[in-house]
Amino acid sequence: MPQIVVEGLVKTFQIAERTPGLWGAVRGLARRRYRAVRALDGVSFSIERGELVGYIGPNGAGKSTTVKALSGILVPDAGRCEVAGRVPWRQRIAHVAEIGVVFGQRTQLWWDLPVVESFELLRDIYRVPQARYARSRDAMIALLDLEALLDVPVRQLSLGQRMRCDLAAALLHAPAILFLDEPTIGLDAVSKLAVRDFVKRLNRDEGVTVILTTHDMDDIEALCTRVIVIAGGKILSDGALAELRARVTRERWLTVDLVDAGGAIDEPDAKEIRREGHRVCLAFDPQVVTPAELIRRVTSRHAIRDLFVENPPIETIIARLYEAHGGSAGAPDGALDRTPDGDPDRSPG
């Protein structure tokens, strides 16, 4: 049986409409108009134990809403959701004892405490026996290179250091499932690589199921064997990265460095999509013209210094997928991935 089953999940938020201006604000006190926004519109998928799944979509697509439902923080309006045989929001305490959660933009560490004291506090909160705690703490320290950070108060950590500590904090109780909500957001290149490497090893060596939401397509390419794409509360695609690519476009790109900057490439089976100085990028369909044939034709007619063939970057694939589904990602940017500080309408009600 799959570890995570989601079936027909529906969630509608009521968002208070605001009329602009002073008069609008005054009127809003007396009567509020609400607009219903469907954050999840029949989302279904299932995930097996030990999978590493990327969950991607534009802002407001319903990513965070799904993760919140899965972690028991949010109750959907309709649909079924079971994680390890439990309904997250009904058996919240038993459920959260067995999952780890990292929200990239927030920390679960205690701001004023040294890192190690946060860890000890989590040990007590999750009732982890001391011997087991010591083992997983030491493993985390080694894997994430935390030794030098343990006695530093959390507020003095850099974002990258904090994220490494947050990852450790989410895993001290050895959860079987880890939810990562944008774990690399704002990190520098080195920290990103460290986080990716760690997540990959965790999944491979410990068999921890990982669900990763991100806007960073490099995360997806580096980590995920399977990608679920959501937009406007609906799942657009679910499968291996290669399948997704094949489904959206067969296109491939040939980039050539010409000897003469000015020379136009006139090639009926390829389309010039970009030109920067000597460098020209051509898009082609390998079923119309094979890469070998195209290279032969181009090199026979033009003086070439260098060339390479590549797949379009995953960003382009995803952008085309969104476009193909009406271009709209449903809600305007950020409307549903709301954090309370960005959301003035939580106030009275």
Partner: protein, 281 residues
């Protein structure tokens, strides 16, 4: 191999209390500043009462002057124990949305917040109460102001009764503190409700004016409101205004209100969370 012993059910809560407690002990300069303010405030209040008692027949007053003085000093020493503010950490969590993490913990959220409140109400009090008591009980007589000093408890029984009533007052103060924190789930900034509660607490607990000094008609109301249990009851047990025979009733009143307010807090927290959850905060 020995089977791993699973830690006891109270350990998470005790760990929270101790961590928050240690954190709050860091605010020593705030405590020191508070100490000066309160010493000044206490002396001012006592001067007012002194003038008041001189100009009226002492027999007409509900408490003798020395009792009023002790009452005032206890109020100044234990000010930080009263539930007059919201937990800054909870406020920040509700604002930033990190409160979601609190829901990801495998423990009862009300218990977690109550544990926070215990630390919030005890740590600053510990920092302030002892120096304040030393100042009022020993410092003032040394300054030649023996009239204004904090007297020892009226009797041994009064002392023991005071300790018990103070423990109950703490439990009650924590229940109210959690209610204040829960209100943040509705109002985000929470300033309005906090100010309302702070005013009610300081006026109705006897902090500003000892409750027996209020008009006759207000006495039965004040006596049975929950706020009396925060300060007035323990203070009057201490200074002997409530005889040891009245102790059981006072404790029962404090505990009754504590239980009622905990029950209310649990309900409201459940509703607030459902709301938060429904809103997807």
């Amino acid at each position: 191999m020995m089977a791993a012993v699973r830690p006891g059910p109270l350990r998470p809560y005790l760990a929270i209390v101790s961590a928050r407690f240690r954190m709050l002990l860091q605010y020593r300069s705030a405590a020191l500043a508070g100490l000066f303010t309160q010493a000044f405030f206490g002396v001012t209040l006592i001067m007012i009462y002194e003038a008041f008692y001189r100009s009226s027949a002492a027999s007409a007053q509900p408490m003798v002057f020395a009792q009023v003085v002790s009452y005032v000093w206890l109020a100044q020493a234990l000010l930080a124990m009263l539930p007059w503010n919201a937990d800054a950490e909870v406020r920040a969590m509700v604002r930033s949305g990190a409160v979601a993490y609190e829901l990801c913990r495998p423990i009862d959220l009300y218990g977690l917040w109550y544990a926070r409140a215990v630390a919030q109400r005890t740590a600053p009090t510990m920092l302030r109460a002892a120096p304040m008591a030393v100042f009022a009980a020993i410092g003032l007589p040394l300054l030649g102001l023996g009239e204004w000093r904090l007297e020892p408890p009226a009797s041994l029984a009064a002392g023991a009764g005071f300790a018990a009533a103070l423990a109950c007052a703490l439990a009650l103060a924590c229940a109210i503190s959690v209610l204040i924190n829960i209100s943040l789930l509705w109002t985000v900034s929470g300033d309005g409700i906090v100010m309302l509660v702070a005013t009610a607490v300081s006026l109705l607990s006897g902090l500003v004016v000892p409750l027996p000094m209020f008009p006759e008609w207000a006495q039965p109301i004040l006596r049975w409101l929950p706020f009396a249990g925060l300060a007035d009851l323990p203070f009057r047990i201490y200074n002997g205004h409530i005889a040891p025979g009245g102790l059981a009733l006072a404790l029962a009143q404090q505990l009754g209100w504590t239980i009622a307010l905990i029950a209310l807090g649990r309900r409201l927290l459940g509703r607030g969370l459902r709301r938060l959850v429904v809103q997807g905060g």
